[in-house]
Amino acid sequence: MAVKSNLTNMVLVLSLTCLVCSGLLGGAYALTKEPIEKAQAEKTKSAISQVLPHFETLEYEDDHHYYTAFDGDRVVGYAIESSAVGFGGNISLMVGITPDGVVYNTSVLSHSETPGLGAKCTTDTKFMDQWRGFDPSVKQLSVKKDGGDVDAITASTITSRAYTQAVANALLLFDELGLDEINDEKEEEDHE
């Protein structure tokens, strides 16, 4: 580093470095764009197939961020992206709901809960399994501490509350959009 600085060589070297670096990054971006998109799409798809019964095709609804899953013509369920604020940030879930308004299953898309405590919402089978077939018309959708029917993760009530809230948000959207009547309407049309 024996070069003495003057305006010309400083401007020249800095611009040249930036030019080469941005060229390199542009190339790398173009090369990895497709694999990155593929990896993300695969992740969403695997989350959806975890939370819904077997389906053939998917349709994405942009406005409300949910997927409709079809098996042939029949709607088998909806996968709704939903989130709530947990202990360490947003907990984002994929909630699968069958047309009769029952939760089929849930899966965590992303979270930033404390490792060993709230982060158990992705590994605690007792907590996760209770969402399978959770019927909001029979069970109260809040944690036991708040008088509901949801078993909280030990020592992680805030995380469990947020998880419950996210499921509740998904069910609320489901009700608001009147998704529960979709197959009934179809049947009526068929009768006509």
Partner: protein, 195 residues
């Protein structure tokens, strides 16, 4: 100076975590498990070797007054490159480390080696230095992660050996990180002094 000595120096005498005490932020934050520590170490190793080589190659033509901005641009380029590659080919790993990958840019180990070594030595020697220091960082992070995982979650490299019970959770969180780091540092330096 021989190439082998450069590498072993980075591992022991210039160990970035236990001797130089550099890069403490990723050290404390990512070592919640052995695997996390190992992957963070390898990510830093990748950036360190490439940036050391690039910087030693361009340093003869870089004017003194702008050398820091130039080095940072070079380092940031390699970090972003790494980020793209991880997102594309190891998405699960990217998810755990995601937040800390961009922070490698400001990791003082990388800039420190560029300043203290790479701009005064040749490309090959700088690569060896990068490998040595990077491996030192990787080993330290893996050991720290392993100790914290064993104490905190009762598992090692993801293999649970206490059968579903909770470990001492404090060790997974920040206070345990400081405690473990402190005791490991004491042990490491005691061992170093004896030899």
């Amino acid at each position: 100076m021989s190439k082998i000595k450069l590498i072993t120096d980075g591992l022991v005498k210039n160990n970035p975590t236990f001797v130089l005490l550099l890069g403490m932020c990723p050290t404390l934050a990512t070592t919640t498990s052995a695997i996390n520590g190992l992957s963070m170490g390898l990510a830093t190793l990748f950036v360190l070797v490439l940036s050391n080589m690039a910087i030693s190659a361009i340093s003869p033509i870089v004017p003194d007054k702008v050398h820091i901005p130039v080095y940072i641009v070079v380092i940031a380029t390699f970090v972003t490159l790494l980020q793209f590659l991880m997102q594309a080919y190891t998405p699960a790993m990217y998810e755990t480390l995601g937040l800390f990958i961009p922070l490698i840019v400001v990791n003082c180990i990388v800039l420190g080696r560029a300043e203290a070594f790479a701009n005064k030595h040749g490309v090959l020697e700088s690569a060896c230095d990068g490998i040595g220091v990077g491996l030192g960082f990787t080993c330290s992070l893996t050991v720290l992660g392993l100790v914290r995982e064993i104490l905190g979650s009762g598992s090692a490299f993801g293999y649970n050996f206490i059968g579903g019970h909770d470990g001492m959770l404090a060790f997974v969180m920040a206070p345990g990180a400081f405690l473990c780091l402190g005791y490991l540092m004491v042990l490491f330096n005691k061992f170093l002094k004896k030899n």
